[in-house]
Every structure is written in structure tokens, then in C-alpha cells.
């Protein structure tokens, strides 16, 4: 029985508010927007990985009938760089009456390049005589701020955070003296893998009479609006972002094509520049191969950790380092380094850890640009950590699960984020990890595991596990919601919640309905337009249910308070003696003595039945922190003749605090399929060493997860978190973090060898077995 049986709407598997429109083809994605007089744009891209653009001859292109505008660095220097840093970088954009004409015109543009030496191998890029990947830099090595915690209070919580030489806390020298043994995990490599976006990038932009409207796939309307106002000097109030549905987010749609030419895909800025110039709507849509120039979201190479334990398994020190191949930036991608301490003593293993050190390093290369993806830097670090924990368990003769149980974070433990603001001591709200382990163990025969040495035959069975945790939101982040009660017992929620396929809009409606005691169908969310909704925290950081949910709940209660006070005036008794259900207000315990909402509304004005009763809330995160917490169990067979991984079964047992909609929570955990494609599949970025060009920029050569590949079994665990009105925490990312290590642990159990470089393709398995 789910905990949610005590609620009317929370915990129910309601229909998504947009599902009908998606199933019938009615909903419009940004790529579907067509406006009168609309023009269409196509891109010309660099064939070189590193070059200077010397000159661009666009005369023939401009002369092609139907071409309206050719944009290059010559006439739009803020949109195009003279310096090229990867194959596929923007060089020109042609706007024409139809897409075919725009594409024909692109082929007529002559570009003179000064071709320069490039470097795509991250190890070569570290060498002192390596070609410099980016103009204006003297080295390919990058360094970032590290945040160090100190000064514990009487609750054992750190009270000070300041820049330091590494992340973490404690005196490592003193901490190491407490350890009886150390376990090292070195040489772990997470290959570059593409965030799974199905709707290709693009923007429809429409500028008229000083007002700009953009339609763009996005997880955030605030980012493109603010960036546009800065770049084009447009007034924020006159920039409206409309989004009915986004075809996939997963972290890849955070910048929304507005972070400038050096950083990521820049489609929103290009379309905006064109519409401002021409005064006509412009649609720029990328073909699939162009999307393969962007949205690479994993790149940890040479990740290692050394963990110190007492002989009874108590974890006392962690010393971790992660090198990243950060391409030539990508603002969101580089930002992933600010999240990746989750696997360490800062969070997951904060319970017993005396000293934690984490160093992040990165190197620039001329490979396509890097963006965020679920986990946001954490999968690369969980990989060596959760493998090291298994190695440690083996060395100490302990069950790997018991070692996790002994050391994982508990409610009240330090939970130390290195990004976001720092408002003071930060602790974990609760832990559900033990319950997740208990539930997961019911589905796999963990007790029956045999070591690899006892296995025979061509197909060797293995079971492995890994913990996974992801922080949700953080200090300094905020969200606003507005709820408008209607006189007939219904409500409208104003909340700029982006639909990236996560049914978040529906969950917000469930919160409103539950708090008001009305049916789910009586709540409408208005979320499509930025200008008619309040600032809503962007859909990332696994924080929609949590930050936005808190704001929505509080706004609902603010409106409800006014409703009940007005009802109290009419009914002649204190508001605290009244309750409401299904649009009726009555003295507590006396439902037959009620009156409908409209009677309270008549106190608002002479035409009260037309009025709204409005509640607003501004919610800001601080204090107790929620976290996604879970366990991944993997069962698979290794074919020792072919090296293939077969019959892959992934059980994800994850605590969501409270499932607003259990079916939706389970759907999130099914994302593991596209995490597996880059671990047990063959998905990694492959570049031609001669040119730096992507060789697998399509779904044939980058074989994304299909319905045939693996089985994923979600277990929705609920341990209510105190930081949310219904106990809910985030659900969007955590499971990604454990995939590589859980699979590596399963393979180790099957064949006794440790695979450390994703993806675990048959050649790697056979090499590990010494067969090739």
C-alpha cells in the first residue's frame, strides 16, 4: 500500500494534462510553429576543428531569389566567432522564404579559412606542446573554484564555506591515521555520451512593434529571455517565451540556445537576430546531424578515488579526483563540475567520513561542445567510488550491501553542496536508502550470489549494485506560484512550469487539488507563456516537485485562507472552525450545513461570481535538504565467447519521498534505458582523428536504446521528507549516477574482471578476459 492512500488526489495515477493533445497530434512543439509570412533559416558550419575565418563571400548566396538575409561574422559579429574551435561550429545563417532555398544558398557561400593544428585527444591536449584548442588561451588546462567546509557546530554540521585548494572538509593527514586500510580505484573513464533529446533544436522568433515572442524547446524561459535582453538590448517585459511542450530535456535544454556562439547551440539568438532585422517571423530548425554537434553530456576521464576504512568497514577518508574533457566549454556543461561531489564524503558518505578531498580538473579539446545531462557531473564520479566500495567489501570480507548500510548518509548528516548559495549549515532531510535496499533485495537473489571463480559455461551470470544520490535544488534558488480560485469551486494555477515529458504540470495541479479538497479535473494550469506567469524555478536540479511544489502549495493555502475568512464572514463563525471539500464550505464535521464557494465570493465585490480569489507565494530553499536516493541492482549474463552483455535486467529501487503520481515516478526511473546505452550499449562520441569530425552523428551509428535492449524494473519507495508539504523529493536524475558502477560490479561478479572504461563493448570484455 502506498502511503498516498491517505490522500484524495496525491498518489493517484491521474491523466497528464497534455497527454490527449500529444496522442492526437494537436500539441505544437516549437518546430511546429508556423506564422504568417514566416521565413526559414539554415546553417553553414565549419568543416575544420580549429581555424580562423579569414573571409566570407556571401554575394552569390544573397543573390539567390528568395533569400532575405545572410548572417555572418561580418554583419553580425556578436553571433559568429572569427575563431573556430570544433567541427560544426556556426559560420553563417541564411534566412529565406523556404528551407530548401536557405539550404541551397548556404552551399553558395565561400569561406576562406586559415586552418590551424587541432587536438581532440584529451591526454595529448594536456601536454605542454599541444595545439591550443581555443583562441585567447595559453593553455588547454582549466581550473575551477573549490569550496572547503570547516568549523563544525554542536550538531556536527559545518558552518563555514570558503574557497580552498580542494572540495571537502577535515584534516586529511589526521584522517588517514584513523584508517586501517585504503582501497584505490584508478583509471575510470566515462566516454562522451549524448543527452537524449528527440525534438531537434530550433527556435521560432517573431519580433513586431518592439515586442519579441520566441517559441523554443526549453527547461527554462528565464535563461533565454535574460540572455536576449542582454545581447540585443531588448526590454525584459517585452520578451515573451511560449512553450506548449518540449520534446525532451534531461538537462540538455537548459541554455535554450541562448548562451552565445562560444558556448553552445545558439539557435535562439540567431532566430531572434534575424526577426529583429527583418520584422518577420523566422524559424531556425536544426537537422538531426546538427544536434550531434551539441548535447554531449558525459566526459569524465581518469577519474579516481582512494577510500580509507577502519577494519570494521567504517569509512573515514575519501580522496577523489576527476579529469574532464570539457571540449571548448559549453556554459551549462562546464557547470556540471559544480555538482560532482555527491558521491563523496560531502554527501553520500558523510555519515562517518572524517576527511574528504575532491579535486576537479579539466582540459579543453577541439571536440564538439559539452552540455549538462541527468546526474550533471555525478555519474563520472560515482563510477570509481561505487566500484571502490565493492572492491573494499571484497578485501574486507564484507557484503557490499552491508558496507553501504554502515556508511551511507543519514537524516541530519552534513549534506554539503558546492554550488548554489551558502546560507549556513546544510543537512540531509531524511534517508530512504535502507528501505530502498530492502525493497530491491526482494527482487534479486543477492544471497544466492556466487563469486566469478565458481561460474562456468559460455554465459556467466552476474549481479551487481550501486547506490545513487542526487541533490535537489539548493540554497538561493526560488520559485513563485499564483493560484486563482474560481467561484464555481475550481482553480487556475499560474506557474511557468516547462513540460519536458515529466508530467510536472500535472503534479502541480494535483498539489492544488489536494490542498483545496477539489477534484484534479477542476484545476487548470496556465504554464505556456512566460509573461503571464510568475518567475518559476527552471526545470532542472530535480527540483520541480520540490521547489515549485512548495511555492504552489503555499500559494494555494494563501488563497484558501482568504476564501475561508470570507466564508467565516458569511457564516458568522471563526474561519478555523470551517473546512472545505468539493467546492462546499461547512463547519467542521457538519458537511450538510455547508454553502458553496460562490457565497464567499459574493463578499469580494458586487459581481463576486466573476472575481478570482488570489494567492501568491515566493518560496526560497534553505536549511533541510531533500535528495534523490536509490539503489540500482543489475543482473546480466556475460557471453565469454563473444564478449556480449546479454539479458540485462536493471532494478532501480528509489525513494521519492512521496509519489505524487506513482506511474510518473516509475516512468522517470525508466530513463535508465538511455543511461545503459552508453554503458552496456555502444554509444560514445567517435571523432575522426584526421579531421576532428564526428563519425557517428546519426541514430544508425550512435545506436540509442531501443525497446529490445534491456529490461528496467522501477520500484517506487516512499519515505516522506520533512521539507515538502506532501513529503516529496526529486525524481529526475539520481538513478543515472549508479549505472556504470552497478554494471561494472555485475560484470565483476560474473567474470572476475573489472571494466573501467565505458561503454563496455564486447572488445573490452574480451580484452579483459585476455582473449584478444
Amino acid at each position: 500500500m502506498m502511503m498516498s492512500d491517505e490522500f484524495r488526489v496525491i498518489g493517484k495515477e491521474v491523466k497528464d494534462v497534455s497527454a490527449f493533445d500529444k496522442a492526437t497530434g494537436k500539441i505544437k512543439f516549437s518546430n511546429d510553429i508556423r506564422l504568417p509570412g514566416m521565413l526559414h533559416a539554415a546553417m553553414l558550419r565549419s568543416p575544420h576543428a580549429r581555424a580562423n575565418v579569414i573571409s566570407i563571400d556571401a554575394i552569390a548566396a544573397q543573390a539567390l531569389p528568395g533569400v532575405k538575409l545572410v548572417m555572418t561574422k561580418d554583419n553580425f559579429p556578436i553571433l559568429f566567432l572569427a575563431s573556430i574551435s570544433w567541427v560544426g561550429q556556426d559560420v553563417a545563417c541564411v534566412v529565406a522564404e523556404d528551407l530548401h532555398t536557405a539550404q541551397e544558398a548556404c552551399a553558395l557561400i565561400n569561406v576562406e579559412y586559415e586552418v590551424l593544428p587541432f587536438v581532440i585527444d584529451p591526454y595529448k591536449a594536456m601536454e605542454p606542446d599541444a595545439p591550443i584548442a581555443m583562441a585567447g588561451t595559453e593553455s588547454n588546462l582549466r581550473s575551477y573554484d573549490h569550496m572547503f567546509f570547516s568549523e563544525k557546530n554542536e550538531d556536527g554540521l559545518y558552518t563555514k564555506r570558503e574557497k580552498g585548494e580542494h572540495e571537502g572538509f577535515g584534516d586529511m593527514e589526521a584522517g588517514r591515521k584513523e584508517a586501517d586500510l585504503f582501497v584505490k580505484a584508478e583509471g575510470y573513464v566515462t566516454a562522451k555520451a549524448q543527452a537524449p533529446l528527440f525534438e531537434t533544436s530550433g527556435c521560432a522568433a517573431d519580433f513586431s512593434d518592439g515586442k519579441l515572442t520566441i517559441y523554443v524547446p526549453t527547461q527554462s524561459t528565464v535563461m533565454p529571455r535574460f540572455n536576449i535582453s542582454q545581447m540585443f538590448k531588448l526590454t525584459l517585459s517585452k520578451i515573451n517565451c511560449i512553450n506548449y511542450a518540449t520534446g525532451g530535456g534531461f538537462g540538455g535544454r537548459l541554455g535554450a540556445g541562448s548562451n552565445g556562439p562560444a558556448n553552445e547551440a545558439n539557435y535562439t539568438m540567431l532566430a531572434t537576430a534575424a526577426t529583429i532585422e527583418l520584422g518577420l517571423p523566422v524559424s531556425l530548425r536544426y537537422p538531426r546531424c546538427d544536434d550531434f554537434y551539441y548535447y554531449w553530456g558525459r566526459s569524465g576521464m581518469d577519474t579516481k578515488t582512494e577510500i580509507g576504512f577502519k577494519s570494521d568497514g567504517t569509512l573515514v577518508t575519501m580522496d577523489t579526483e576527476c579529469w574532464r574533457n570539457e571540449s571548448t566549454g559549453g556554459q551549462i556543461g562546464v557547470g556540471t563540475q559544480s555538482f560532482d561531489c555527491t558521491a563523496t564524503g560531502n554527501m553520500l558518505y558523510s555519515h562517518n567520513c572524517i576527511a574528504n578531498k575532491y579535486v576537479k580538473k579539466s582540459v579543453a579539446t577541439n571536440s564538439p561542445v559539452f552540455v549538462g545531462w541527468q546526474g550533471f557531473g555525478n555519474p563520472e564520479v560515482f563510477f570509481p567510488v561505487e566500484c571502490a566500495m565493492d572492491d573494499a567489501a571484497e578485501e574486507m570480507g564484507m557484503d557490499p550491501i552491508e558496507l553501504r548500510r554502515k556508511n551511507h548518509m543519514r537524516g541530519g548528516d552534513n549534506f554539503l553542496p558546492i554550488t548554489y548559495d551558502w546560507d549556513g549549515p546544510s543537512w540531509l532531510g531524511h534517508t530512504g536508502l535502507d528501505k530502498c535496499l530492502d525493497e530491491g533485495l526482494k527482487r534479486v537473489d543477492w544471497a544466492g550470489r556466487k563469486p566469478a571463480s565458481e561460474k562456468t559455461g559460455n554465459l556467466r551470470h552476474g549481479i551487481g549494485m550501486a547506490l545513487c544520490v542526487q541533490q535537489n535544488a539548493g540554497d538561493g534558488l526560488s520559485s513563485d506560484s499564483i493560484v486563482k480560485l474560481q467561484s464555481d469551486g475550481s482553480a487556475i494555477l499560474l506557474c511557468n512550469y516547462q513540460d519536458i515529458g515529466q508530467s510536472g504540470r500535472s503534479a502541480q495541479c494535483q498539489i492544488v487539488a489536494e490542498a483545496l479538497g477539489i477534484a484534479y479535473e477542476k484545476v487548470k494550469i496556465s504554464a505556456d507563456q512566460s509573461e503571464s506567469t510568475p518567475y518559476t524555478h527552471y526545470q532542472s536540479c530535480s527540483s520541480g516537485t520540490w521547489i515549485v511544489g512548495n511555492a504552489t502549495y503555499n500559494a494555494t493555502m494563501a488563497a484558501k485562507k482568504q476564501l475561508m475568512e470570507r466564508a467565516a464572514m458569511v457564516m458568522g463563525m471563526p474561519a478555523e472552525n470551517l473546512e472545505t471539500m468539493d467546492g462546499m464550505i461547512y463547519p467542521k464535521g457538519m458537511p450538510d450545513k455547508g454553502m458553496p464557494w460562490i457565497a464567499a465570493f459574493m463578499t469580494v465585490s458586487h459581481y463576486g461570481f466573476w472575481n478570482d480569489i488570489i494567492g501568491h507565494n515566493h518560496f526560497r530553499a534553505t536549511g533541510a535538504k531533500p535528495a534523490e536516493q536509490g539503489v540500482g541492482f543489475v543482473e546480466l549474463d556475460v557471453d565469454v565467447e563473444t564478449g556480449e552483455l546479454k539479458n540485462i535486467r536493471y532494478v532501480q529501487s528509489q525513494d521519492c519521498g512521496r509519489a505524487i503520481n506513482p506511474r510518473v515516478v516509475a516512468a522517470h526511473y525508466l530513463s535508465i534505458h538511455h543511461g545503459l546505452e552508453a554503458v552496456t550499449g555502444a554509444c560514445e562520441q567517435i571523432l575522426d582523428p584526421k579531421t576532428g569530425k564526428i563519425l557517428n552523428d546519426n541514430f544508425y551509428d550512435y545506436p540509442v536504446a531501443s525497446i529490445l535492449d534491456h529490461k528496467v524494473e522501477p520500484i517506487v519507495v516512499e519515505v516522506a521528507d520533512p521539507s515538502h508539504p506532501y513529503g516529496a523529493v526529486g525524481i529526475g536524475q539520481g538513478f543515472m549516477n549508479g549505472i556504470a558502477s552497478a554494471v561494472s560490479n555485475a560484470i565483476y561478479n560474473a567474470i572476475g574482471v573489472r571494466l573501467k572504461e565505458t561503454p563496455f563493448t564486447p572488445d573490452k570484455v574480451l580484452k579483459a578476459l585476455g582473449k584478444i
Binding site: 512543439f29 537524449p196 529490445l708
Partner: protein, 169 residues
Amino acid sequence: MSEETKKEIAANSFITLNVNGKDRYIHGVAPHMTLADVLREKLGLMGTKIACDEGSCGACTVLVNGEPTLSCMTLAVTMEGKAILTVEGLLDGNTPHPVQEAFVEERGIGCGYCTSGFVMTTKAFLEENPTPNEDEIKEALAGNICRCSIYEHIIDSVDSAAKKMQEGE
């Protein structure tokens, strides 16, 4: 556009396509235009999505004489005289097709970008195999990619759709 393209369009300026039960008379169809392009740009039927434009993902699936067809790999001018059915054609007034209803109820829909392709493939499949097992469902849908990867819920949706169609809903 170039003179050459203009000439090509003039030579094939007008085709008749039967779409969702109606004959549509369409001007300015160049020989290189795909069925997906024509459905979307000429007829405004945006339910059919283009996600790869090279036949590798199934998002553009429509039915041509009842057969699942990749509209991004089909030249529009070759489609005269055939019955084309798109996702919009499954909705009867306010009443969705049982396949559409099943995908809504079983939440086989995430971001929705792959949905019309899956719905069309499923409709044709269930008409051919009304009582499929799970392996048969997976084989039939192997050519449709879902990047939200909610495959288990898609299988549930197909299962539910099969039951609805058997019950004659």
C-alpha cells in the same frame, strides 16, 4: 530558390493526395519533397514529426494503404492514389482511437515527440496481430525510438490498446 528548382516545381506543380479520408489538392510540390514535408508544410498536419529525416527513428511513421511508412523517406509525388493516414486522422471528433486512449491511460507518453510514430505503428500492428505477446510487441516497435525511453509503459499501452480493440471500443 534557383531557376532549376522552380522548373522542377512547375513540372510537378499539382498533386492530389488522399489524406485522412479526404482528397487534398496540393500546389508547388517539388519532386524532392518528402511526404513528411508535404503533410506538415502544405497541409499543416504537424502531428507527424521529423526527428532524424533519414529513416532511423520512426517518429515520422504514417500509414500508407494501412502499412507503416517512414514519411521522411517517402517522396510525396509517389503517393498519388494511395490512402494516407496520419495521427490526426485517428481522432473522430472528440473521440480518440483506442490506441490513442490506451497511450494516454497507460502513460505511454513522455515528452510526446515519438508518440504519433508509436501510435501509428501500433494501430497497423494490432490490426494485423490483435493478440500479441510481449516479444511480438517489441519486434513490431523496434523501429520506433523513444528518447524518454519509457518502453515498459509503451508496451503496457499496446497491451491495453489490443484489449480495447478486441472489445470493439
